[in-house]
Symmetry: C2
Subunit: 494 residues, 2 copies
């Protein structure tokens, strides 16, 4: 741009000043460049790196672990005694570390075992092909070698499309193709194939084993534990939403500083399927450790995950009602179903968070069951409330429909939570949840079961403040909630 | 098991017969083994392979393409003149083909370009490290080499966690680490590093280029086209559901042989996010081809995909109402909102299928707009219908609520379809849809706009048969649908 400006201006009358201006600009830009590079480049990159490290500090640890392993394995090449044993092939150990060392133990073990087995099988088959090829003389040898590569590689390449094989053995199948092709093709010229193959296999095994050992021994990242926590977190996020939804929908006075993040958290649950499936596939490679035993029920985690997503779809439908454009139900109508709906929200939310806690803390706590019982009772009460036609005196169906839809959706949520509770219960028994920790968990301090403040906004209607204390008897609150709803119903029917 | 049985039975009195029985069983099993292996093993595997091939015949083509490329590249090793040029390093071309050749052009180009660039950069940096290391003598050399590997590899390993880099350059970063480590470590012993690095780079470039060429020239699989079609298919599947939903929900007489697959198709849309994002990332690597130009708007596909998923969540909520256990609305109540709801279902469904067709056929057809107009009108009619309180005379709110929820959900669907239409319109203009094909598309033959047969099941209520023919004037059906609904409303208000 600068030079173009220069040429145009030089043809005009005011020569010298415009001649200097672009030059000055260029000089200015050149002077500013290091500063801008520093600001936009280095500082920006440093910020991103800092944020990445803060988001998950295990990333930094992984980088250090990986590069330490690489340095350790390079000693095979640097140290003369080790080099004397392995020779040039020592470089394959370095290569193995770069390719096999992954973030989680599951991924590293999966890749390591795949690589070792596939190298062994591919190498053995390649050596067999080489010896068979020697039976043919002259031009027959390369033709036989090429034909065997063609058939074996075509079949294995096709096998890689099988979903079950792709999920667990894709890397192994690729390494099998690689090793088989390398050994078979190079056997045409190299007669020492067997020795090279043996040394390469040995260095690959050593490299893989070192990777797995470092991965497990130094700050291990268990992908199984990540899946475990992700299932728990998803339950808790849905619970958070439900606990907050009642207040949001029924017009709690919202303060400006309020944190509304709980209304968005569930969105990540909607698209969690592929991540959880990948995690479960990798977790299967991990050896038993801590509470994760041999044959840990990974499938059951996926089942809980699927049910959680189904609940998240319902929550997505509920969330749309928070948008006032869609839901214009007057608050006096809303207030009529407020009591049981609020109880369902609070209790289902609590139940889900309890279930999340059950998974997270490896305990089979029964407190979720009581919350589910309360929400089921509230759901029945809501149904009987909906049966009373008086609700319709105040408005037309278009006004009432959104509130009715919310009510129905909440009834659906209660059923969904029950299913989740069953699945979590099954998970708890399959994964032996209560075996160790059940007695360790500190009993929660007594707390109010519901302290919902039911405040219909319109002025003509009386205010109810409902406070129910949780007694020592678990049946008590249920009766309370029942009678409380009856109270509300009676008040409105007058 | 057989030997255990044998030992136990030999201690009992009836020796010879039981001694023979397990043996016989063993012999029987041995005889059956080849047969069973054939039945359960070979036949089963053949069936699976046949199904995989039938599901996507491109898989077979890919396997043949891949192995042909591999054979072609092995010629570098088999043929003496080529071997004289590249020597031992020719094996790296074989290795490159196995690692780079992927199913789609996008994936192959992505891996090929990543591999070439990363090898060049990693190799160059490695050679630079080698020459810097020679400045240090004795023990200083390996320490400098190890330190430079430590710093560079740690930084790049950490970089791999960055989501944007991971999505597009993960393979390149890994190959960079690999090449840099290999060159730097092996430079400790090998002084011919420069020549080896050069030859290796050359064979890798040749291998990658051959892969890309074969991938593009012989039956190419464009992942961009797959994404394009997947977006279209998702729209059509939601459209299929909506078109069918009206009939299913309002109690069309269902015949046994009916294909209900259209009710399940949408479920795959719910979890389509990660697949579509991967596809878009790979599609960015593809060169322009056919209607996919340079800077094709891949992001817009993801936008349409996201809106389609939002519609799918609503459809999921609708689908639950088909389960009679949840929705027990008597059909006489349903029949009151049947007319506008059926129109919304049919017209929204048609609009979505038209939009799917717009994407699939690269045309910017306006017929979707008229369908959307009809469904919007029906949506307004439904709203005014809901405002008439007479609906509530027949039942309590619990009976009416599910139908009201369906009605609201359908009103939401109409809005969602409008958003999708806007996004598809934007896509059409960004991707130059109508530029070529708009005049080519054959005009659709005249057809009935709606031929919904509204048959309330209960006997006390009169039967309406509504048939609206689509005239040549696009405004006409709108008026028809309006008047038709008014007719229904009036009849009921009497």
């Amino acid at each position: 741009m600068a030079s173009v400006n220069f040429e145009i201006s030089s043809t005009s009358s005011s020569g010298p000043p415009t001649q200097q201006r672009p030059r000055q600009r260029l000089m200015m830009k050149l002077k500013e460049f290091p500063e801008k590079l520093w600001e936009n480049g280095v500082v920006e990159v440093a910020k991103i790196a800092k944020k990445m490290g803060e988001d998950d500090p295990r990333r930094i640890i992984h980088s250090v672990k990986m590069v330490s392993t690489l340095t350790l394995v390079s000693l095979f090449y640097y140290l003369q005694p080790l080099y004397d044993v392995f020779g040039e092939e020592a470089i394959w150990a370095v290569l193995t570390v770069v390719l096999v060392f992954e973030f989680s133990v599951g991924a590293t073990m999966g890749k390591g075992l795949n690589r070792m087995t596939a190298t062994l099988l591919g190498g053995a088959l390649g050596v067999a092909a080489k010896y068979l090829a020697t039976l043919f003389g002259g031009i027959g040898k390369p033709i036989f070698l090429a034909a065997s590569v063609f058939i074996v590689v075509a079949i294995v390449t096709f096998m890689r499309f099988h979903p079950a094989l792709k999920a667990r053995y894709d890397y192994g199948l690729m390494i099998f193709i690689l090793t088989f092709s390398l050994v078979t093709v190079s056997s045409y010229r190299d007669d020492e194939v067997l020795e090279i193959a043996y040394k390469r296999l040995l260095t690959i095994v050593i490299g893989s084993c070192i990777c797995v050992a470092v991965c497990i021994c130094i700050c291990p990242v268990w992908i199984g534990a990540d899946l475990h926590n992700s299932v728990a977190k998803n339950l808790e996020m849905i619970g958070d939403f439900l606990q907050g939804f009642g207040g949001e929908y029924f017009g709690r006075v919202v303060e400006d500083g309020d944190d509304k993040s709980f209304l968005e958290g569930y969105k990540s649950v909607l698209n969690s399927k592929s991540t959880q499936e990948t995690m479960a596939n990798l977790a299967r490679w991990e050896p038993f450790h801590g509470k994760f035993r041999f044959r840990h029920p990974w499938k059951q985690y996926l089942k809980v995950g699927t049910l959680t997503r189904q609940c998240a779809y319902k929550v997505e439908a509920l969330n749309e009602h928070l948008n006032s454009e869609i839901d214009q139900t007057p608050s006096e109508i809303k207030s009529k179903i407020q009591a049981p709906c609020t109880i369902i929200c609070l209790e289902s939310g609590k139940a889900l968070k309890e279930l999340g806690g059950v998974v997270r803390k490896w305990t089979s706590s029964s407190s979720a069951i009581s919350h589910i019982t309360f929400s089921r009772t509230a759901s029945e009460d809501l149904k009987s409330l909906l049966k009373t036609v008086y609700l319709l005196e105040d408005g037309d169906l278009l006004d009432i429909a959104p509130a009715a839809a919310v009510a129905l959706q909440l009834i659906g949520v209660v059923k969904c939570v029950e299913k989740i509770a069953e699945a979590v219960q099954e998970l708890a028994s399959l994964a032996h949840f209560n075996s160790v920790e059940s007695s360790v968990v500190a009993p929660e301090e007594p707390h109010f079961l519901h302290q919902g403040t039911v405040v219909p906004v319109s002025e003509g209607i009386m205010h109810h403040v409902i406070t129910i204390e949780q007694g020592s008897d678990t049946d008590l609150p249920q009766n309370n909630s029942q009678s409380m709803i009856n109270l509300v119903v009676e008040k409105h029917s007058n």
